[in-house]
């Protein structure tokens, strides 16, 4: 295995543990925004999509890359936007009346 690949595994394992620690503390009230925010983060695959779409040769590569970029962008832009919309509603009212 190449050193980069092993480094990738190390990062993956550590990031998973950080993820567990950070997310286990999120209260149930915020589970929907957490899910939709995390979902937007999974759109990070857009980086791979840009590399594939921008550097590929030929029509097939361009099509695959184009779809990958479009789908990832829907995921990222839509995901962050809708999460923000939701969180905008989670505010404490002055005076705290129900």
């Amino acid at each position: 295995m190449s050193p980069e690949f092993i480094e990738g595994i190390v990062v993956f394992v550590l990031a998973s543990f950080i993820g567990f620690e950070v997310i286990a503390k999120v209260p149930p009230t915020l589970h929907t925004p957490l899910m939709s925010g995390a979902n937007a983060i999974s759109g990070i695959t857009i980086v791979g999509a840009i590399i594939a779409g921008g550097t590929g040769n030929g029509a097939v590569a361009a099509t695959l890359g184009f779809l990958a970029i479009t789908f990832a962008t829907i995921n990222v832009v839509g995901g962050f936007l809708v999460t923000d919309r939701m969180l905008h509603m989670f505010k404490k009212k002055p005076g705290g009346k129900s």
């Binding site: 690949f5 998973s16 009230t29 957490l34 990070i44 594939a52």
Partner: protein, 456 residues
């Protein structure tokens, strides 16, 4: 330097997710994560320019413009009640994108990789494909295009087990050979497994399925990260994978069921199972009766269920709580973890209706309060308040943590009919002397109660 910038994007994701842990910091957290995403996207484009490779600009630009337009359109139009299906759809697109990144790598190399790369390519294709179709079947179920009742596969769970075994065999072949074809077969098979895997799962189990698919979309992104050797993808993907897994486990715990049981038992339709209905008498109530009971209460606990979302009654319940507050009645909300179709679904609906998050209580916070509660108002919830889960060892839902509404002084149940819940299980709570049954649509019933309250 480039690698450090990707690491910075990963750190922004972590800090962002940490922010999502508290209502006060959540919005900032989400914004930080989106800054991380923007950074990663700018860095990769900068890197491509720097490497002096030939760049097909139109693919990148048109893809981003089209994707943004579609994303913005969906995100700004969606109703809060439609949040589960929207998240499912976005999730499906994310999974598809990861699979396509892997597919592009196969196309470019003709399927000839180092062993470790071929493993992550196969994983990325398989997981991305299953996430894609699985999420869209979930979308269809949530939207109602596809029946929420479990669709049994021939041979039951063995059907998918056999497909899965075929998937492992294909994956091994893809890794062992230097050809591209096995990867395309692999993609096709896992697209099918996404469909046949989610179809047998009932509508009421959607919170678990959604969490699991969310987790898979993260793992797909992480494996895509290994293909292109990118830290931001690996960190982001691992975080999402962990987040989805935690939610999956928590939802399973809240239903006292293992993940395997949810995925393979075909339990949990949308109701409508005729079941064995009891013909014991119930106390039918009118909106006026309920208004009187509420007006003379001190503490009221609202228990919302999926029926609240279906009836779009979140604003009506808030109006009722405001009217009660004017009479000095305190209203709080007890929310079961699996109420609704995705984790936290009820909280979002009530937040939309301007209900303060301080009065939204979870299972552990609300149960000690029921004995001190004068009136419990159950709107469109059933199994999560079924005392059989606590008392009747023979009940199929025995052991599932419930909201102990039966400990309150009076119970009001607003329901369309006496039909049992998704599990097809009769609910003894409905036949108790202290229970008032109001058979009506949730929204109109609440409006009538609020109107009647003004006259009490």
């Amino acid at each position: 330097m480039i690698r450090l910038l990707y690491l910075a994007a990963g750190v922004l994701f972590i800090v962002g997710l940490k922010g999502l842990g508290s209502p006060r910091t959540a919005r900032r957290g989400n914004q930080l994560a989106s800054v991380g995403m923007l950074l990663a996207a700018v860095v990769v484009v900068g890197d491509l320019i720097d490497l002096d490779t030939k760049i097909t600009w139109w693919v990148i630009i048109v893809g981003i413009v089209v994707g943004s337009a579609i994303g913005v359109m969906f995100a700004t139009k969606v109703e809060m009640t439609g949040m589960p299906e929207l998240v499912a759809a976005f999730n499906g697109f994310g999974g598809a994108s990861s699979a396509l990144v892997a597919a592009a790598a196969v196309h470019e190399s003709g399927g000839s990789f180092e062993t470790e790369t071929s493993i992550v390519v196969a994983l990325s294709i398989a997981i991305g494909a299953i996430t894609f179709t699985g999420s869209f079947v979930a979308y269809g179920k949530l939207k109602g295009f596809i029946s929420g009742t479990p669709v049994a596969m021939p041979g039951g769970p063995w059907f998918n087990a056999a497909l899965m075994a075929g998937g492992v065999a294909l994956g091994t072949w893809a890794v062992a050979s230097d050809a591209g074809a096995p990867y395309w077969f692999l993609a096709g098979l896992f697209l099918i497994i996404g469909v046949t895997g989610v179809l047998p799962i009932g509508g009421a189990d959607m919170p678990v399925v959604m969490s699991l698919l969310n987790s898979l979309s993260g793992v797909a992104a992480a494996t895509a990260g290994f293909i292109i050797g990118n830290l931001a993808l690996i960190i982001g993907g691992a975080l999402v994978g962990a987040a989805g897994l935690i939610l999956t486990l928590q939802m399973g715990e809240a239903m006292n069921r293992t993940l395997a049981n949810v995925l393979f038992s075909g339990f949990g339709g949308d109701g409508g199972t005729s079941g064995e209905m009891s013909d014991k008498p119930v106390n039918r109530a009118t909106p006026d009766d309920v208004a009187i009971a509420l007006a003379y209460a001190e503490k009221v606990m609202v228990v919302p269920g999926y029926g609240l979302a279906v009836a779009q009654a979140q604003h009506a319940v808030r109006d009722l709580a405001s009217a009660l507050a004017e009479k000095g009645v305190v209203t709080e909300y007890a929310i079961h973890p699996v109420a609704g179709r995705m984790p936290g679904h009820m909280n979002v609906l009530l937040a939309e209706a301007d209900v303060d998050y301080d009065v939204l209580l979870d299972l552990d916070q609300s149960n000690p309060k029921f004995p001190l509660t004068d009136v419990v108002l159950i709107i469109g919830a059933n199994d999560v308040v079924n005392p059989s889960a606590r008392d009747d060892a023979a009940s199929p839902i025995y052991g599932m943590p419930i909201l102990e509404c039966d400990l309150a002084r009076t119970v009001v149940v607003i329901k369309r009919s006496l039909s049992p819940g998704f599990a097809g299980i009769d609910n003894p709570l409905f036949y108790e002397d202290k229970t008032m049954m109001l058979f009506a649509d949730g929204k109109s019933a609440l409006e009538e109660i609020t109107a009647a309250l003004a006259l009490v």
